[in-house]
C-alpha cells in the first residue's frame, strides 16, 4: 500500500505552493494512492548496475559563443505583468520593517 494520506497531500501541496480545498485533499489522496501503488511496481525491476538516464540525447556540455544579441525590450518583457511599478514587477512586501526603538 502507498504511504499517501491527507497529511502528506497537504504537506506536498504546501511545498508545491498550491492552495487546496478540503474536498480536493480528500479526492487527491484516494486518486494519488492508486497511481502511486501502480508506479511503485518499479521496485520489482533490478537496477543494481544500471545508470540513470536524465536525457536520451548523446550531447554533453553544449557550448556557444558568448555574444551580445538583441533581446526583448523592457516593455515587451513586462507587458504581461499583473502589477507593474515603473520598470519593476510589483509584489507584496517580503521584508518586514524593523520595529523602531
Amino acid at each position: 500500500m502507498s504511504e499517501i494520506d491527507p497529511g502528506v497531500v497537504r504537506y506536498v501541496a504546501d511545498l508545491a505552493r498550491i492552495a487546496l480545498t478540503d474536498a480536493e485533499v480528500e479526492r487527491f489522496t484516494v486518486q494519488l494512492s492508486v497511481v502511486l501503488d501502480s508506479v511503485g511496481r518499479l521496485r520489482e525491476v533490478d537496477t543494481e548496475a544500471i545508470p540513470p538516464t536524465a536525457s536520451v540525447l548523446p550531447l554533453h556540455n553544449v557550448m556557444r559563443e558568448d555574444e551580445v544579441r538583441p533581446g526583448l525590450t523592457l516593455d515587451e518583457a513586462m507587458r504581461n505583468a499583473p502589477a507593474r511599478d515603473g520598470d519593476l514587477f510589483r509584489v507584496q512586501t517580503v521584508i518586514e520593517e524593523r520595529p523602531s526603538g
Binding site: 499517501i4 506536498v12 505552493r17 502511486l36 518499479l42 521496485r43 537496477t47 544500471i50 536520451v56
Partner: protein, 487 residues
C-alpha cells in the same frame, strides 16, 4: 473547385491559379468559426489574411516553397508573438507572448498561413481534451466522445477538414493518440529533432512538436520545415539536412518489421487488435518480413512516465507564481499569493501532477521514485536499441481503444493514463513514432503506430507510406451529420 485537402493539392491549386491563398485562408477562417467541436480557442483573421496576401505575392513571383499559402492550425501551447497563448489554462488566460516559438517562425518563413490556435488539455496534461480550462473538444466522428488528447483541437481541425495541417506537442502520446482517435496522421519526431524554444514547457526531456496531416507525405513535408538545429534550444541535434521524402515510394519489400508481443495484451479492444493485425498482414503481403519481438519492460513504462513526467512538470510549472505574467490572486502575503494564484489558476489534473511530481522529488522519496524511474528508463531505452539491431521498424496499435465517451474516465486518473500505454514508451526512449489510420472499429477510427530507431524518420515514413498507398483508410472522413449533432 473541390477544397484541396493535402499540401500538394494546395500547392497545385495555387500554382494553377484555381484559387488564391487569400481565398483558401478565408474559407479556412469561416470553417474554424463555424466549428461545432470546440476545437479552436482563437481565430487569427488579420494575421492569416496578411500572411495569405504575402503568400499570393510570393506565388506570383514564381518561387514559393511547398507550404506557401497552406492554411494550418497551431496548438495553443506553442507561443505565437502578439497572439494570445493560454496552454489551455486559466493561469495563462490573456497571456500574449512577446516572441514566437521557433517552429512558428519556421512555418512563417515558408509562407504557411496560420488560421488560429487550437484547444488542448491544460498544459498538455491529458489524453481526452477534457482537462482544458476552455471546455472539452468533441470528436467529429461522434460528438458524444472525446477526440483524445492532449492535442485534441489540432487533431479535430485536420480531421474535420478545417485546415490542411496542424501542429501539436507529444510528451507521452499527445499527437499520436488523438490522431488515432480522429482518423488522421500524427507524428512525433525523435527527441532533439525539433526546437522546443517558445513552446510552453511541460516535461522537457520528453516533449516534442510534430504535425497532424491527412497523408504521410504531408507529414514528411511539414517535418522537413520543422527539423533542424536551433541555437536557442541546446537540446536540438546538430544533424545534417536530409530529404525526409526520399524513401516514400520505395515500399517495404525486404524490410524487417517487428511486432512487440507486449503490445497485444490485456486491455486492447478486439476491434482495435483485428484492424492492426490486418495492417500487419498487408505489409507482409507487400514483402516485408514480420517478426515477433519482445520489449520485456513495456509493463514498467507507465510507472517510469508517471514519475519522470510529473517531476519535470512540477519544476517547469514553478514559474507560474503570479509575479511576471498570468493570473494573480492576492493573498495575505507573497507566499499566500503564490498558493492562491496556483490553487485558482490550475485545474484538477495539473494539481494532481504537481503534487505527484513534487512528492517524487522530495527528500526521502527522490531515490525511491525519481532516480529509480530514471534507471528503468535506461532499461527501456536499451531494450528498444537491442530490438532495432534486428528490425527496421516496429508495428503496434497506437491506442488500446477507440474514442471513449466524454466523462467516462475523468474521475479515474489511472484508467485515463492507460490510454497512452503504447505511445509513452516511445517518448521515454526518445524515438520517432507515427500513427496512421488503419480502419474502423464500431464506426470509429483505429490507428496503426510505426516506431523507428533514433533519427530514422525516413524509414518510419517509408513504412507508413507503403501501407497508406495500398489502402483507403486515410481517405475516410467523419460523417457530415456529426456536425449537426454537435451543434
Amino acid at each position: 473547385m473541390a477544397e484541396p485537402r493535402t499540401i500538394l493539392e494546395v500547392a497545385e491549386t495555387l500554382r494553377d491559379l484555381e484559387a488564391s491563398a487569400v481565398d483558401l485562408a478565408r474559407a479556412a477562417i469561416d470553417r474554424a468559426r463555424a466549428d461545432p467541436f470546440n476545437a479552436w480557442l482563437t481565430v487569427t483573421e488579420d494575421r492569416a489574411l496578411a500572411q495569405a496576401r504575402a503568400a499570393d505575392e510570393r506565388i506570383a513571383s514564381g518561387d514559393a516553397p511547398l507550404l506557401c499559402g497552406v492554411p494550418w492550425a497551431c496548438k495553443d501551447i506553442i507561443g505565437t508573438k502578439d497572439v494570445e497563448t493560454t496552454a489551455g489554462s486559466r493561469i495563462l488566460a490573456g497571456y500574449v507572448p512577446p516572441y514566437s516559438a521557433t517552429v512558428v517562425e519556421r512555418l512563417d518563413r515558408e509562407g504557411a498561413v496560420m488560421i488560429g490556435k487550437t484547444n488542448l488539455d491544460e498544459f498538455a496534461m491529458g489524453s481526452s481534451n477534457e482537462n482544458s480550462a476552455f471546455g472539452p473538444v468533441r470528436n467529429p466522428w461522434d460528438p458524444s466522445r472525446v477526440p483524445g488528447g492532449s492535442s485534441g483541437g489540432s487533431a479535430v481541425s485536420v480531421a474535420s477538414g478545417e485546415v490542411v495541417f496542424a501542429l501539436g506537442t507529444d510528451t507521452g502520446g499527445s499527437i499520436r493518440q488523438p490522431a488515432a482517435l480522429t482518423g488522421v496522421t500524427g507524428m512525433k519526431p525523435t527527441y532533439g529533432r525539433v526546437s522546443r524554444y517558445g513552446v510552453v514547457a511541460f516535461a522537457s526531456s520528453l516533449d516534442q512538436v510534430g504535425p497532424f496531416t491527412t497523408t504521410v507525405e504531408d507529414s514528411a513535408i511539414v517535418c522537413q520545415a520543422l527539423f533542424g538545429k536551433d541555437p536557442a534550444d541546446a537540446t536540438t541535434m546538430p544533424l545534417d539536412r536530409e530529404d525526409l521524402r526520399r524513401g516514400l515510394g520505395d515500399g517495404v519489400k525486404g524490410m524487417r518489421l517487428g511486432v512487440p508481443k507486449e503490445y497485444f495484451v490485456k486491455g486492447i479492444e478486439p476491434g482495435v487488435e483485428s484492424a492492426v493485425r490486418a495492417a500487419i498482414r498487408e505489409l507482409e503481403r507487400q514483402g516485408a518480413s514480420i517478426e515477433e519481438v519482445s520489449l520485456p519492460s513495456t509493463d514498467h513504462a507507465l510507472g517510469v512516465y508517471y514519475i519522470i513526467q510529473p517531476a519535470e512538470a512540477s519544476a517547469n510549472l514553478a514559474r507560474y507564481d503570479g509575479v511576471r505574467y498570468g493570473l494573480r490572486v492576492e493573498g495575505r502575503d507573497l507566499v499566500d499569493t503564490y498558493k492562491r494564484t496556483r490553487g485558482a489558476g490550475f485545474g484538477a489534473e495539473v494539481k494532481r501532477r504537481m503534487i505527484l511530481g513534487t512528492y517524487a522529488l522530495s527528500t526521502g522519496y527522490y531515490d525511491a521514485y525519481y532516480v529509480k524511474a530514471q534507471k528503468v528508463r535506461t532499461v527501456i531505452k536499451a531494450e528498444f536499441e537491442r530490438v532495432f539491431e534486428r528490425v527496421d521498424a516496429l508495428l503496434t496499435p497506437t491506442s488500446p481503444t477507440v474514442a471513449f465517451g466524454i466523462g467516462s474516465k475523468v474521475n479515474d486518473p489511472l484508467s485515463m493514463y492507460l490510454n497512452d500505454v503504447f505511445t509513452l514508451p516511445v517518448n521515454i526512449a526518445g524515438l520517432p513514432g507515427i500513427s496512421i489510420p488503419c480502419g474502423l472499429s464500431e464506426a470509429l477510427p483505429v490507428g496503426l503506430q510505426v516506431i523507428a530507431g533514433y533519427d530514422q524518420e525516413a524509414t518510419m515514413f517509408r513504412v507508413a507510406a507503403a501501407y497508406e498507398r495500398a489502402t483507403e483508410h486515410h481517405r475516410m472522413r467523419p460523417p457530415e451529420r456529426a456536425k449537426e449533432v454537435a451543434r
